[in-house]
Amino acid sequence: MKRIISVIVENEHGVLARVVNMFAARGYNITSLTVAPIPNSEFSRMTIMSEGDPKVFEQIVKQLYKLIPVYKVIESDDFIEKEMAMVKFPLKDVKDNLADIDAIARCYNGHISNVNDKNIVVSVVDRPDRIDNFLKAMQAKFKNLEIVRSGVSVIER
């Protein structure tokens, strides 16, 4: 089962290792992980997406609470989820018009971020499942596609 949690932690060295170890020690993969400081505070917010048995997950959440630098663990099924993706492909592979690519990107809250003499970079921001769709569309069009996904960030509604 897919699960997303947000962990609010104190900004100090080693805290990411502590949090990640809870998953590693139980043989759980982290599907995606994003971390950034929360402005005007001594805390950072980590958003972790993982998959696994709900009972084990519940245990992980309780153990995370036990970590001294963890302030709060947020679990919700009413998150707004956003992820960013960037794709890069060679300019010479573009058969149709640049405007068409731009139009697809716009459907996913994105745009063409950069074009130089060799490559085009398109970036989009959307729900992870919609990012999947976008990437499928792009993969169908371009063979030499380089993809970077940011991992999901969430906020409670």
């Binding site: 104190e10 060295h13 080693g14 290792a17 502590r18 309780k62 153990q63």
Partner: protein
């Protein structure tokens, strides 16, 4: 006043009321040892012969006194040798501060001599750990470390101290109080939850108190005794809770679990309400989980929220300190409880008790290990402290020794660390110089920290080791016999026994070799009058098994009671 980091360590420990540190010096921790030297006796130091020994000593000191144990070790192999000691304390919730030296901050990450990622190694086996990067943070970190070690669910805290930080100078200002935004243990239980649990207890037909280590750690034993007495509800104890009730308490059914009594396990099996007082439903207690306490609702009182619901579904969770929760709960129960209500239940359990009491078939030809433990219980004063190593002797001690108060039994319950008992006994003796301290061990376990005889000699810590010597790694041998068709793979030690008498004598101790009952009594009485570390090497029945036994992955009710049951 300006002082260097090393001095700050010493002064902070003194401020915390620490009187004894156990440890072993080395390159990276030298400055701390230099300041220890200069402090000239304000802080006593026990030099162990191995870092593992030092940490177990600090652990035994802590468990027997309820205070925080402190150990110093150096970087690299110093801290890696300490790891087993730290993990032992962690699984049994023992408050320790372990301060390790580290290579200077500028050398960290360069594969420097005796460098190891110490905080990386101890992260999963400590309640918390610190790498001190600036001497200005040091005093605060030590204060925080003590606070964390003692508060909530106690545990070991490791401070990794780079050598340049011990040299760096700053103004020493030891904080009076500490408040952490992210750490606020819950001590007081939720009032409504306590009320609901009290009502469930009053209404239950077949309740049982399941007493765990939390009852010891929170200092709740008097309340637990009162609760049991007032309600007349039977009780079982975990290994970590031995002594919370007196051994002769008529309502004590004995230890629960793999080597628990038949009555205790059947009580758990048949109960309609199990009230956990700081016990965590360990796999050695529950047996096969699917079949555990099928008809029971669970009341679970624990200061650590992560324990509640971890193993079993809990209908009445109470997060809080056992003592404080019972203080609130007791009056609610006293008002309404009717001890007669459980009379039928007590009768059933007493029948179980009579049917299959804890027993062994004694012999005059060969010494039975259980006899040694019972006899020792008769001879020793009631306030003696008992430590154990790990294996058959540990279980026999838990079964047959007449425990009368909590913290009397000091044993590695969670991690099961062989080599724990002897150094822990030395630490306990240091904290309780006027009490008799006896370590029950086996011929396997005792070898694992035997070097510490010298420590006992040097610091005059006369601890008696009773080695129940069956020339086997007995517990593994028992499993091999029971579950591996008696293929004794690497467990027969009969061809490689040391001479324990000479071994003790060579390090300033005294040794006895005993193979007759009367000689054992003489040896123990003599050892009690000697002011020396003693080894009593008792040749016991080689093939004695620990019984009864719940085979691994079996339900509690399927106990092997007799040897022939297999």
């Amino acid at each position: 006043m300006e002082m260097n980091g090393a001095r700050i360590v010493i002064e902070s420990l003194i401020k915390e009321g620490v009187d004894t540190v156990f440890g072993y010096p080395g390159g990276a921790i030298m400055n701390v040892y230099d300041e220890l030297y200069k402090a000239s006796g304000k802080l006593k130091h026990i030099l162990a012969k191995h870092e593992q020994g030092a940490v177990h000593m600090a652990d035994g000191y802590a468990r027997s006194s309820g205070k925080v144990g402190v150990a110093f070790v150096t970087s690299g192999p110093g801290i890696t040798n300490a790891v087993t000691g730290i993990a032992t304390a962690y699984t049994d919730s023992v408050p320790l501060i372990v301060i390790s030296g580290q290579v200077p901050t500028f050398a960290i990450g360069t594969d420097a001599f005796q460098e190891v990622d110490a905080v990386g190694i101890t992260r999963p086996i400590t309640k918390h750990n610190f790498l001190v990067k600036d001497v200005k943070d040091l005093a605060y970190i030590i204060k925080e470390a003590f606070y964390l070690a003692k508060s909530g669910r106690p545990g070991p805290v490791h401070i990794d101290l780079p050598k340049d930080v011990t040299v760096g100078k700053t103004k020493f200002n030891y904080p009076e109080k500490i408040e952490l935004k992210t750490y606020k243990p819950t001590y007081k239980g939720n009032k409504r939850a306590i009320k609901r649990a009290a009502e469930a207890i009053i209404k239950a037909k077949r309740p049982v108190f399941y007493i765990g280590g939390g009852s010891v750690l929170s200092g709740a034993y008097q309340l637990v005794r009162e609760l049991v007495k007032i309600t007349q509800i039977p009780a079982v104890e975990t290994l970590m809770a031995r002594g919370v009730l007196r051994y002769d308490d008529p309502l004590l059914l004995g230890m629960v679990g793999m080597h628990g009594t038949y009555a205790a396990n059947m009580a758990m099996n048949d109960a309609d309400l199990i009230i956990s007082l700081g016990a965590r439903f360990d796999d050695r207690v529950t047996g096969k989980l699917d079949e555990f306490a099928k008809n029971a609702d669970i009341v679970h009182i624990d200061i650590d929220p992560s324990q509640i619901g971890k193993v079993v579904e809990t209908k009445y969770p109470i997060v809080g300190d056992v003592k404080l929760v019972l203080e609130e709960m007791l009056p609610l129960i006293v008002e309404k409880v009717d001890p007669k209500r459980y009379e039928e239940w007590r009768k059933i359990l007493n029948r179980y008790k009579e049917l299959y009491p804890l027993t062994y078939s004694d012999s005059d030809e060969v010494i039975k290990p259980q006899w040694v433990i019972e006899k020792t219980g008769e001879i020793l004063p009631e306030d003696a402290i008992i430590t154990t190593d790990v294996g058959q002797h540990q279980m026999w001690t838990a079964q047959f020794y007449p425990f009368t108060y909590p913290r009397q039994l000091i044993t590695s319950g969670g991690l099961g660390t062989m080599g724990f008992g002897f150094p822990a006994a030395l630490g306990a003796k240091k904290a309780n110089p006027n009490r008799v301290v006896v370590n029950f061990s086996g011929d396997g376990s005792i070898m694992m920290n035997i070097q510490e005889v010298l420590t006992g000699y040097r610091y005059n810590l006369p601890v008696i080791n009773i080695i129940l010597n069956n020339n086997y790694l007995g517990m593994v041998r028992q499993w091999q016999t029971m579950f591996y068709e008696d293929r004794l793979s690497e467990t027969d030690l009969s061809d490689v026994q040391p001479d324990f008498v000479k071994l003790a004598e060579s390090m300033g101790g005294i040794g006895y070799r005993v193979s007759k009952k009367e000689d054992f009594v003489k040896a123990l009485e003599d050892a009690l009058n000697q002011n020396k570390v003693a080894f009593i090497d008792v040749q016991v029945d080689r093939r004695e098994d620990v019984l009864p036994m719940v085979p691994p992955n079996s339900p509690l009710k399927n106990m092997l009671i007799f040897k022939e049951d297999k």
